[in-house]
Symmetry: D2
Subunit: 254 residues, 4 copies
């Protein structure tokens, strides 16, 4: 086995008077020059995004930030009630829920799109094969369907519009639309492209690796939590949730 | 005791075809129109920020996003090694460290500044009293001093410059500078304004409540974690850290 | 400043064929010889507990393990619904709630008891002073009062009975009873000794430092979570809780 | 689709003067009568364990509680340094690491054992097929092999001895031994049964469902953390770990 290279980092170093981040001076090159979104992209890709890429990434981030009462916001609110003076604890607890069930699902769709583009060749045949494999394995198609938003999730069309407005509705977006048609044909009914499907395609267009997409969803949802924590401070709901659980989930004995 | 009002929320609701966030349509009014930073501010303040406020908030967020190996990035990397397929777990674990010891400390400084401005009157007398109370109680002055960045933290001057460039170096920033002089005089040595002190003042200038400032620090640091996770995927350090602990922290028996 | 001693550990080391824990062989001295409770005590105190100490510690642990729907079990259940294949995530999220508001409060009462015994002298005067200080500062007396269990928490009498049965109802338990009388006299109404007050006294009787008592409460509550997770797998409640939140906490707009 | 049954719980209820847990009175039937280990089993299985089952479960719990510096203890120590006054936060962060990579792996081995016993028939043929499938898929055999403990993990023989001493070395333990011989034959080299393999078999012997085994590993490891937290309070290592990371993982620029 080849020996592992010595561990090292390309991210940052600092001394008494400087902070260097990926070769740039934090003070001279980054603060006041990059937005949060541009800085996050820079930290992932080693270069700042173009204005078009920033537009698309901001649209993706804004889309996932807030969806009212969800597992992440409900858990954050309950934990805040228990640990009110350490808001990072409430936020971290809420973010633990961004898993494969809710929000953190763009990776699966992105991997299908990426493999299709890389394989080249007959995209209709590729899509048909992928969909049939999912049907045969009784697995849901990642990026399609939504429990509440029916018949169509209203967010993807707006996301595609933003991408088109800056010329970034490229091969991954096109393939997602093609896949959509074949999903409907093979399933024999209409399934919507959902927000995580659209975001998976858009993040590929701007060069975000599929492996790190869920991490970006976590950042997005994190940006919605200060608003929930502040509302919980001003008009609490956590004790109500507890009381509702006790009232509506009765003890029935062994 | 007055009966508590029935619980309610002002944040969001959705149905099959709409998502409404603080009275705005997610699709028509927010996606493609607000940046991540503007959306987070909107979720906290119920109105979008002005361009000047956005500039200052982005500068604050960029300042805290990345500082290389810190408790938050080291913990995230170690947890990622243990739970590699659930990146939200690594990120949440890292964010738990944003407490009163590191990063999450702007609240204390902001409360001192806010109380001073609200009290009005002789600000020199106010500052002198606050500093003397901290000296008497042997408590560090929040927002001052830094273990590595000496004699001066290089980040606050750049932050003040950004605020000044958009006319937001108002009363809280002025009071922080005044406090700085009195800290030095009363302590008999120079202490730097540190990044969290400057950010506390700037967030007050843009109307962010002190109680929620740590939550914004959490969002900022969260935005730095995808870069660390991706680097850990590509060139891991977690096992090295474990080996270093075993090598350098010997077992000495009971 | 004196130089810090080099870091070291007294807990454990292992090599290819041995595991040594605090000087004992895991295989020869611990597995099959100590119970979980005895082993935890051994890891804290560097010696196994006596049978009497084990009896008291088990009673404390059993008391806090399970109280039905609480923030810890509700949060664990909601997180399990989001991350069903990583049960440690649900459990960790639930344990984050064991803070100063619920369960993790024995430390405050224990510190009052410990300071009283260490000071010696007139214990009535000590108790009176402590209670009056809390009344003056409008702070609740730690270890007293309960929102649901009125007029008396049923758990402390049983805990005291167990301690008495093994001769461990010593000075801290006696002082807690004395304090109880003075709380009632000074408040002008009856407040119950609550479970965390009684447990704080009992843990002092068996030599557990106050600083680590909350950690033991976390272990106790952790022991109740497998039962909740298993029930959630078999008859889920998390989606019901979410639906109840949406139904009973309406959006009222900005 | 059949309507889901209304949500309910079989775990606990309480009122002002009683706490009922799975049909028993906490005060009359549980405190002072069950140990922590017996109570946890009772909460999972709806009946207390026999003395033999308790002996085996305690042996499993003691085996996993403590292994010195591991991801869980290192993460807990680092988080404790950042949030020193909320020990549950450090503990929860450490427990997040009990995933599929370390400690939380008994489930895989247990499922193989359970399926073999349920299938009945020729157990040698079953074992051979399972091992060959893992070899063909280049997947490690769960419950076998250890990075440090070579050639043999010293913990399983002691665990089997405890089980035998109380007559609980039944079909699952026998099948694990049979599997071990076939692993060696098919791999062409010796792989040790590791601690999680042995514990998986023992937990099946005492009726613990495979799905909840990782949760019990979490409880076990949780019981080791108070000792680490207390040691970190008395002789800290977290800052040393941070310094080691900075020293040994250099910044190499972009």
């Amino acid at each position: 086995m080849a020996k592992a290279p010595p561990p090292r980092t390309r991210i940052a170093r600092s001394d008494a008077t400087t902070v260097t981040i990926r070769g740039k001076s934090l003070m001279d090159d980054l603060i006041g020059k990059l937005s949060f979104t541009e800085m996050m992209y820079f930290l992932i890709k080693h270069r700042p995004p173009t204005p078009a890429e920033t537009k698309v990434l901001d649209a993706c981030l804004v889309t996932l930030m807030e969806h009212g009462f969800t597992p992440s916001s409900l858990v954050s609110r309950m934990v805040h009630d228990s640990v009110p003076d350490q808001v990072q604890v409430a936020m971290a607890a809420g973010l633990l829920t961004i898993g494969g069930v809710f929000v953190g699902t763009m990776e699966g769709c992105a991997k299908i799109l990426k493999a299709g583009i890389e394989a080249g060749g007959d995209l209709d045949a590729y899509c048909t094969q992928v969909v049939r494999e999912h049907i045969a394995a009784r697995k849901p198609m990642p990026g399609f369907g939504h429990p509440f938003h029916k018949p169509d999730d209203p967010r993807p069309p707006r996301l595609f519009q933003v991408a088109e407005s800056v010329g970034l509705n490229g091969p991954y977006v096109q393939l997602l639309h093609r896949l959509n048609g074949i999903v409907d044909r093979e399933m024999g009914r209409h399934l919507t492209i959902n927000a995580t499907g659209a975001i998976g395609a858009l993040m590929l267009e701007i060069g975000i690796p599929a492996e790190i997409m869920r991490a970006i969803a976590v950042v997005s949802r994190c940006g919605g939590l200060p608003g929930h924590i502040l509302e919980e401070m001003e008009m609490p709901t956590a004790r109500t949730l507890w009381a509702l659980a006790e009232e509506h989930v009765p003890y029935e004995g062994v």
